[in-house]
């Protein structure tokens, strides 16, 4: 049963298994264990970033494609749903119309980028994706009447997903069953299914061909595989999943804006998470996203407490001042890359 669910791709490390189980349980019960908007927002962001990063790993880790356009597809999904809900009103019809339009656009763009540029060398492909993604981000900012420009747009979601909606009056485990909770479980379930789907893909014959291409594309061609076709398919698949992740994030935030969905910062976050978690291991996306998003959300608070506790110590109190949280996050990344060159999952799997 478990073998079938995980497509035969077990964590292959006891510590990793424990980390994955804890993450799964933590995310599954987060709304009932944590109070307040921030923890739930962190949990939802982790869920969505697991999918977003895993979809990027399909490209980078499994196929060896360096793309900077992943946030563009993420943004397309978000803007598709957001703008449709804004224009058509808060209905499921608007959600599906926006999602279908976004997926179609993501597919066409991924196909075009793939067919035009995956024949060229990796560095040129990376540059082309960077150019296309930058152009798209600028376009989203410039078309302010349509997209809300730099400010973005807030919109209403279908009633069942709105915070004011109550499914039942009674509370369960001290938590009211409202629209926010339902949205969280929609995000959680969709992300879980998308992750398991990706596990299936990478463990299918198609996934093996992608890995063969990553390792040596000439050898893969000599076995009869058209590498451009496989790379393009991987590009399209990753783009569609990123668009779905974007749509889920838009539903969760009830907002779309260029900084949240299209900025280069999001792209660097994705790259860092892939590297920290471990390339070519979808489980790396889970571990990496959980640690990264948690650090991003709570490192500042932890440092504030540490700074208070060290108030009497002159240099240390300044060093751990919450304003310097980015510095410490950077140091943590450098250390993690230094100590885990194959990522956390790679390191755990190679432990003797």
């Amino acid at each position: 049963m478990l073998k079938s669910i995980l497509s035969g791709d077990f964590p292959r490390s006891r510590i990793l298994s424990i980390m994955l189980v804890l993450t799964f349980i933590g995310l599954a019960v987060a709304p009932f264990m944590l109070s307040g908007a921030r923890p739930l927002n962190t949990a939802a962001t982790i869920c969505i970033f697991i999918v977003l990063v895993a979809s990027y790993d399909l490209l980078l880790g499994y196929t060896g494609i360096v793309s900077f356009a992943h946030t563009m597809f993420y943004g397309i999904g978000a803007y598709g749903v957001g703008l449709a809900l804004d224009a058509m009103g808060p209905s499921w019809w608007a959600v599906f119309t926006g999602l279908a339009s976004a997926l179609a656009l993501a597919l066409v763009l991924a196909l075009m980028i793939g067919l035009f540029s995956l024949r060229v060398r990796a560095i040129f492909y990376a540059m082309i994706t960077l150019a296309v993604a930058s152009a798209f981000a600028i376009l989203a900012s410039q078309l302010s009447d349509f997209t809300g420009g730099e400010d973005g747009k807030t919109f209403k979601v279908p009633e069942i997903l709105s915070p004011g909606f109550k499914l039942i009056e009674a509370e369960i485990f001290g938590r009211s069953i409202d629209g926010k909770l339902l949205t969280y479980y929609l995000v959680f379930t969709a992300c879980l299914l998308l992750f398991l789907f990706m596990l299936r893909v990478v463990n299918s014959p198609f996934g093996r061909v992608l890995q063969a291409i990553r390792e040596n594309d000439f050898r893969a061609e000599a076995l009869g595989y058209r590498t451009v076709v496989y790379r393009t398919l991987a590009n399209c698949l990753a783009a569609l999943i990123a668009a779905l992740a974007g749509a889920l994030m838009a539903l969760w935030l009830r907002y779309v804006g260029p900084k949240t969905f299209l900025s280069f910062e999001v792209m660097t976050d994705i790259l860092l998470i892939v590297v920290i978690g471990g390339m070519g291991t979808l489980y790396g996306a889970v571990v990496g996203a959980a640690l990264f998003i948690f650090a991003q959300n709570y490192l500042q608070s932890l440092m504030a407490e540490a700074s208070e506790a060290l108030a009497g110590v002159p240099i240390l109190a300044q060093a751990v001042h919450p304003d310097r949280w980015m510095l410490w996050l950077g140091i943590l990344f450098v250390l993690s890359v230094y100590f885990f060159p194959t990522g956390i999952v790679g390191k755990l799997r190679n432990r003797k």
Binding site: P205, R208, V209, Q211, A212, E215, N216, F218, R219, A220, E221, A222, L223, G224, Y225, R226, T227, G280
Partner: protein, 241 residues
């Protein structure tokens, strides 16, 4: 003369500014083992890569079953029934032995009888079936590379220096494997520098020098003519005994 499966006529190949193949003429009869000999840099590997479409021929024709494949893409050449075993143990090291072989099984499944036949002369593959191929020894990796080429019946197998860097005991296993392959009437074009290894295997032989085939004939003829060996290969059989 038996029917030709592959015929190269006046093939020129440039790699960047270098003119590597300078008019290669080569005939590979159907059902036999043709050996391509020559010193380092003679153009043997480039010939195989040109046949496979990994380097495009700038002039000349490469006819496979009568059809010119000089401008055909590599995947289509592979689909036409040509398998290629590159030198340097060219396996996919992150994949298991099973997955390496599975990649070459284009029907999506492997024939159990054929696998047992392969395990007969490469028993190590059965033992390490679910191990990452990258963890195997050099000889075992070469076995994976050859097994991948024969996991399905092919019309022609191009093999580039399979014994390079291998221990004598493994080379003996390799000879047994090629004899098995020959018995199935598979056509093989084998690039090799180890004359002693190929003299008992080859039916026909071609010797390359400076990007051209400078001699073509039967292996029996070359094996018996020490003067010819000395002239073409700069060696005598005694040196390889």
């Amino acid at each position: 003369m038996s029917e030709l499966l592959l015929e190269l006529s006046g093939v020129h190949t440039h790699i960047g500014q270098y003119h590597i193949l300078q008019g290669v003429d080569l005939a590979v009869p159907k059902g036999g083992l043709t050996v391509l000999l020559g010193r380092n840099g003679a153009g043997k590997t480039t010939t195989l890569r040109t046949i496979m479409g990994l380097w495009q021929a700038s002039a000349g024709s490469v006819r496979f079953e009568g059809r010119d494949i000089a401008a055909v893409k590599t995947p289509d050449i592979a689909q036409a029934g040509i398998a290629y075993v590159p030198e340097s143990m060219a396996i996919f090291s992150d994949l298991t032995v099973r997955e390496n072989l599975y990649l070459a099984a284009r029907q999506g499944e492997m024939d159990e009888k054929r696998l047992d036949w392969i395990f007969g002369f490469f028993p190590a593959l059965k033992k390490f079936w679910n191990y990452p191929a990258g963890n195997l020894s050099g000889g075992q990796k070469q076995m994976v590379a050859i097994a991948r080429a024969i996991v399905e019946p092919r019309k022609l197998i191009l093999i580039d220096e399979p014994t390079k860097g291998l221990a004598p005991a493994i080379i003996q296993g390799m000879i047994a494997a090629f004899k098995e392959l020959k018995a199935t009437d598979t056509t093989i074009l084998l690039v090799e520098q180890n004359f002693n290894f190929v003299r008992s295997l080859g039916d026909t032989v071609a010797v390359m020098d400076d990007g051209r085939v400078v001699h073509a004939g039967t292996m029996a003829e070359l094996s018996e003519d020490r003067d010819l060996q000395q002239k073409l290969l700069g060696l005598s059989m005694d040196a390889h005994q």
